[in-house]
Amino acid sequence: MTLRRFLSAAGTASLLAQLACAPAGYQKSEVVSEQATTLAMASEIWQQSDIESLPAVDDLVRQADAQIASRKLDMAAEKLERALRISPDYAPAWSRLAHIALAEADPGRAIQMARRSNSHAGDSVELKLLNWQYIRKASQMLGDVEGARNASETINTLRSL
């Protein structure tokens, strides 16, 4: 929570910059702290997204966030899928599924979920940026140099908006 508050104060733009600059190759010891930071940053974006949602969706997504934080990823994914049955266009839920897929080392799925989130993200540039960062990271995990480069280019374009 403290970290989240700190990050909130720092502002979303700088968070995105940090996330975008996160090195592709890193030491194992850095993994845990990087995941925690990435999650905190992502949570900010998900929660600040101005995409409208029904109270039922908010309720499920809140539960999913708590489960993501406590690494109950399968349970969280289930809550998010329930939310998406209610509001299939709710882009932040698709983005969370991309996050979960990455955390479960399923980069192919992460890319698809992030794309799906982007297809509903509308004008939400920050959410799109986050999703493209997932796509870039997933592409790197897949060894897809071209895909990662394309994602980087899109990230730069979005940043310049």
């Binding site: 029904l54 109270p55 039922a56 908010d58 309720d59 499920l60 399968d74 349970m75 994914a77 289930e78 809550k79 899928e81 329930r82 998406l84 049955r85 209610i86 299939p88 599924l97 799925r109 698809q112 979920m113 794309r115 799906r116 297809s119």
Partner: protein
Amino acid sequence: MTRKKTKKKVSHKKTPRRKKPKQSPRNRNKSQALRRTIVLFTGISVIVLALYVVWLDYRVVNRFSGRIWAIPARVYARPLELYEGRPLTTEALLFELNRLDYQRVNQSPSRPGRYYHKGNVIEIQTRAFRFWDGEEFSQDVRINIRGNRISAQHGLKSRQAIPLVRLDPVYITGIFPAHGQDRVLLKLDEVPDLFKQVLLMVEDRRFFEHSGVDFRSIARALLANIEAGRTVQGGSTITQQLVKNMFLTPERNLWRKMNEAIMALLLELHYDKQQILETYINEVYLGQDSERAIHGFGLASDFYFGKPLSELELDQMAVLIGMIKGASYYNPVRNPQRATERRNTVLNISLAQGLITERQAADLKAKKLVVTNRGKRAFYPAFVNLVQRQLTRDYDAEDLKSEGLQVFTTLDPYVQHVTERAVRSTVAVLEPQASDLQAAAVVASVDSGEVLAIVGDKNPSFPGFNRALDARRHIGSLMKPVVYLAAVRQHNKYSLASLLSDTRLRVEGQDGQIWEPKNYDKTYHGDVIMYEALLKSYNIPVARLGLELGLSAITDTLRQLGNTTVLPPYPSVTLGAVDMSPFEIASIYQTFAANGFHSPLRSVRAVLNKEGVPLKRYQLDVKRETDPAAMALINFVLHKITQSGTAAALAGELNIDVAGKTGTSDDLFDSWFAGFSADKVAVVWLGHDDQRPTGLTGASGAMRVWKRVFQDIAVSSIKLDMPDDIRMVWVDQETGLLSDKGCENAVKLPFIRGSEPTASSDCKAKAPLNWFKKLFK
């Protein structure tokens, strides 16, 4: 005990001194031999008896130590989620509550499994249920429905808004062996105390005092029977009854009785009373449902009264307890009179033992015996068939019949009901002109690929050939959107304004045969733009285009749509001369509906073991390989088809925007319709099993079923906004050249940026002049 007696006898017989002098040596030898024989015989008998008891003990322990019963998998429909803003008709909610056997009451419900309904308000006390993602507790909720949508949802007592309520899921079926037992296991603490009290009062009053056999009870029964001159009372304890049910044959003889007594004593030696009572409650036989044997009070409560044991009234409990004496003789469905009398006897016993007052007893005895109408229980053979196929990828068929798995599926009982109704009623109307017409339908969720309903026969509850999955027929014009998508993927070459030639086409196939496709109206239309060719479903332009594109481009597009059919190398493939099932078509059109995001159609969400521990969750899967812009172009036309194309009959019939495609195979053998709203996709097929002409086109047959389904379920309009890289441009519908809003034959079409026509039609070219003239008028 036995061993001690034998010793005494042996020692006594070893010292018979008094008789010794009277015996001659020969006699003495004889006598000694006899004694030895007796000793030997007794010894052997004791050993045999001991071994027999050990063997019985082994049987008892062996049976009780592991899994006691083979429990069939229980298959559930999707749970209905209730939340403010949900599209839902009052009819659909009441249908769900009825399927769940919720009891309608005439005031606010105060117990789980009850509801109150007045006008557009429904108050429900939900049942608790353990789902794969946790326990859903019982809640009281007041729901307002306005404009076919939940407008408000509050706690009944708390008055506070409740964001989300999940009802327990409708039980669909069990997966059991052909001749099997079925049961719903209950833990002893799930059994109401009153039920246990009455049960023991009727069957075994001294259950907690005896050690398996109650000699006092046997003596009392014996006296009663002697007095009556026939068997009127049994002295068996619950433990003995359990032993009889689980280990022994139903014959009545002394040997069996002896076995029963020994095993009952052994059972009590190893297991405590609570375990024995719980097992008895789950074991007892309580009737037959054709091939399925109803065992245990958990299932019997659901089977006869449509609710869990915890929700039964005392009179209903009394019916079930009364059935122990003779499940067939006192069956409340077949012999309601006898069942009522027996119920009243049980209630009298309860009264005599002070469990209820005289007033209560009188009231309960006055109640009419009402059992669940078994006829209303629906069977979904086509859907369950799909579930079994999808489950057998991950589970052994034997485990499905024995491990007590809980299978949570995607079936929406109301959508299934509406689809069945639409099939039945439409086929009934069409049959006079097309006898023996058969039907199949698949309805799925667009975004998740969850199968909501399946019909595999014109009589949907008939468990025969599942046409939805297994009838593979020519798909006719349903293929056209695939061919056109393959074209517009090459947007530097094709657009919706591309001119295609609709003139005579003759193609020589690999086998030397000449193929000459014709349009449905048997005329040629000259040059037509792609938009119009798809809108009107012309055959020749798409055949020519398909030949130009090549088989591999079409195959590749099909693969992107989630279908891996190997297309036969015939030019007629472009006109749908390829066999597919309604299920495969639904999968392809799901991808269109989801703007290119393909989700494999699935029927199972999760599987739990019998303790409720999640074993496997089938997660949502999406994959987009097609170009979303190219997909948007085709979906634009699929929408227009329902307004002014071959499916124009839908316009005005639905109050939402939908998209779809009619399909008619050669000689009117198959009538198809595939279409979608924003949230649901459905495919309907009508035809004859023996491939005869039906006299029906896609629009006059299958589309009528489709329309009825979409009229009756909550669906939302497709979104008509286009992706960023699409530009809407006015073109001339005859020439495909740039045109203007006011020009004749002008139509506004979507183009992927850079693929718009560059040349202008005459009207467009004159447009500035026209504007100038208007200015001076």
